[in-house]
Symmetry: C2
Subunit: 209 residues, 2 copies
DNA sequence: ATGTTTTTATGCGATGCTGTACAAAAATCC
DNA sequence: GGATTTTTGTACAGCATCGCATAAAAACAT
């Protein structure tokens, strides 16, 4: 069934051998779910492979051992979350409105059915910090990136005379990031979404005040 | 070497059989250390027994299986922490000063050598929440008790005209408890104590403002 | 002293988990 | 079409872990 009109396709660049039967992003998403449910230490490779829809050797070949697989999932999750944060913070409306949207979106994710899982970084990466320095380092880096994103946004709001100089954008960013930590933790241990949203809503004016 | 003067000793009440060779509090403390290092899922009963200085069957006989052992350690840790919190908050000085003392003490504990371990509740109990409802429930209860302790203190400060009516003591308590969460998480992933203390110090006036 | 009760200590069976080896399958290159 | 390359699926060896069974030890009771 070869088409004779050989269009210059965007170089598909099929590597060489048998093609993979899975999509990397989807595997990392499914694997992340398992890690969020059971934690890093509590998740077995059998569960991970089954959730990913492939078998252990394929997982090992594609991502390495369990720690490396987790790091891949963590990086992927962090980047996606960061992109979402930037999108919301870069949107329209007052700084208070955008901050509120960030927290509502975060709480929706943290408490999404079928069960609240909180945040991968705060809820599962932090536990492993004492025993897995690389996980600790990546978690640390990601939280920093979140705060930098907040800080840049607050700095712009100050420049636009929407916020006062004090507290500094950095200080406000620390408060904003800190609030995300708490929401993630409390969501995971079962605090109701409505309660979390009420708390977040009460904190937004404090951060922007 | 029996003393003839048979003083009415506080009824030692030796139960009946062979006496235990360990002290419950000390075992729970040592076990807690292991749980804080490795997490609940990551800690093996061999490690726990060795750290406790006794063998597995004794652990099982005294506390039950791993989850029950963890729950014992968690309750013990929570009660001790709560007592420490009450002591500091019930002490002398302005509300700001006492709050500052709370955070400094917490950060010292969270970052104590040989390595930062954060808080048992936030750092290890939260992870297990989706898979161990009883752990989640106890963690939830403990965080509530912390907040109630804060709230009572703020209410007293309001009654003493040291704080304004708004934000409410409950709202201030949520902020105060939330800050502890963040400090515990960040300590565990390696943020330096000095940085944590600076952040906490900057938040105290915000909570008391 | 003998018996009873409770804790200790050793050891074991069963299960689960990790990581890899090996052959079949599916694609490209020549 | 045949060779090559990479992925897939099954199977397996090795090890760790959990929970308990069983016997010895250390106390009290009579």
């Amino acid at each position: 069934m070869r088409d004779s009109t050989k269009i210059v396709e965007p170089p598909p660049k099929r590597p060489r051998g048998r093609p993979r039967s899975f999509d990397t992003s989807e595997v990392l998403d499914r694997v992340r779910m398992v890690f969020m449910d059971k934690g890093f230490a509590g998740a077995s490779l059998d569960e991970l492979a089954e959730a990913a829809g492939l078998n252990r050797p394929s997982l090992y070949a594609a991502f390495g051992d369990k720690e490396q697989l987790y790091l891949h999932a963590l990086r992927f999750y962090g980047d996606k979350s960061l992109a979402g944060l930037e999108t919301i913070l870069g949107g329209k409306g007052s700084i208070e409105r955008r901050l509120g949207q960030v927290y509502n979106a975060a709480i929706d994710l943290y408490t999404a059915p079928p069960r609240p899982r909180g945040c991968l970084i705060v809820g599962t990466a932090a536990v492993e910090a004492p025993t897995h320095p690389r996980i600790a380092a990546m978690a640390h880096t990601l939280l920093l990136e979140f705060e930098q994103c907040f800080e840049a946004t607050f700095a712009k709001a100050v420049a636009a005379r929407e916020l006062g100089r004090s507290p500094s954008p950095a200080a406000r960013a620390r408060m904003a990031g800190s609030l995300l930590d708490t929401l993630a933790i409390r969501a995971r241990i079962g605090v109701a979404p409505a309660e979390l949203k009420a708390f977040a809503a009460s904190m937004v004016p404090a951060i922007c005040g």
